[in-house]
Symmetry: C2
Subunit: 209 residues, 2 copies
């Protein structure tokens, strides 16, 4: 059975980080679903003229989520998914990192030894969930100050601390997503999908060759 990953999305999520991660994971043979995080009030504001709900991302791209967080209540998320992923975008990451259900979900995933991944300001949700303390972590430089007291903060493009995978911003999202593919589907799969994406040679791990 294919590994499954859940990626969170909220009003103001960084659309490049969301989309690159979602797409690269699907290329890696992983079943991906997105879950909307937000109050029903904010969902109301996002209705389009035809009555459907979508997220307006940080630079205006409008994305329709696959699920809503309440659809996964009662331990469903933990049963079904092998990884949970938090994208950045200042406003989106704020909503996600201040949501209690997300905090519980992240700490349950971490406790079960499942992959927990965050990029950019999304790393703030790791801290809110109180997980991975003293582990190596990274984030967008703009929120470094909020993380460096509680974590072993690194300025690397992707930081892997066992099952905790963090990264810096839109420009590091390909490397972030490929690290998640490797964690869930193995290094061979990572190598297999890298070529058609046409990454810059400098972004390709040397141990792939």
């Amino acid at each position: 059975m294919a590994p499954k990953a859940l990626i969170l999305i909220a009003q103001g999520t960084e659309e490049m980080e969301f989309t690159i991660t979602y797409d690269v994971l699907v290329r890696g043979g992983i079943e991906v679903q997105s879950a909307f995080v937000g109050s029903s009030a904010s969902a109301q504001n996002s209705q389009d003229p035809h009555g459907s709900e979508y997220v307006t991302c940080s630079r205006g791209v409008k994305i329709v989520p696959d699920l809503r967080l309440p659809d996964l209540a009662g331990g469903k998320a933990l049963e079904e998914y092998d990884a949970i992923i938090v994208p950045g975008g200042v406003k989106g990451a704020e909503t996600i990192s201040q949501n209690d259900d997300v905090a519980k979900l992240l700490s349950a995933f971490a406790a079960k030894g499942k992959v927990v991944a965050a990029i950019c300001a999304g790393s703030l949700a790791i801290k809110s969930a109180g997980i991975g303390k003293d582990n190596a972590i990274t984030s967008h430089p703009s929120v470094k100050a909020e993380l460096e007291k509680d974590y072993h903060y690194k300025d690397d493009r992707v930081v892997i601390a066992d099952k905790l995978i963090t990264s810096r911003g839109p420009g590091t999202a390909f490397e972030f997503a490929l690290a998640i593919v490797e964690a869930l589907a193995g290094k061979e799969k990572r190598v297999e999908i890298t070529d058609p994406i046409i990454l810059h040679p400098a972004q390709i791990q040397h141990d792939q060759e």
Copy 2:
């Protein structure tokens, strides 16, 4: 007034190429709108349970377009926009490059000396529109054979031939989008927005420093 860009989208468009281009242009101070290309039959198939129309991209990300191509009939597109952009994704690029209205639009933009840009299989639309013949061009390697007879084909990550800007795939989309920002908003703007994106240093133009 801010420069304006129109980016096309169809069922099966590559969501990373679409989203990276859209987002980076907005970061560059460019007003961006997306226009759906397709038959009404295909739009029908994309209705979500709530009745709204969205595009299902190549790896399943669902995006709500800002406009539909017929909204821009009667020369509106040419009046309003300074650039037109075609993303890839095999199915999306097929739909876009086989659409007569798109071909007319692309050749009108080219005739007016406006920016025409395409990435990945999107470069096929350049050929369908019959523009830029004998100019330098690139595309995803998978469609190189369909282009190299009519164009001076290059394997570079981004190829700029006056106002015709082409590129190769999702992994080259940041460089592609930054080249469009430079063409529409100048080199200073390009440099200004590059840092927070956290590109790999090897992806940053040396002449920026």
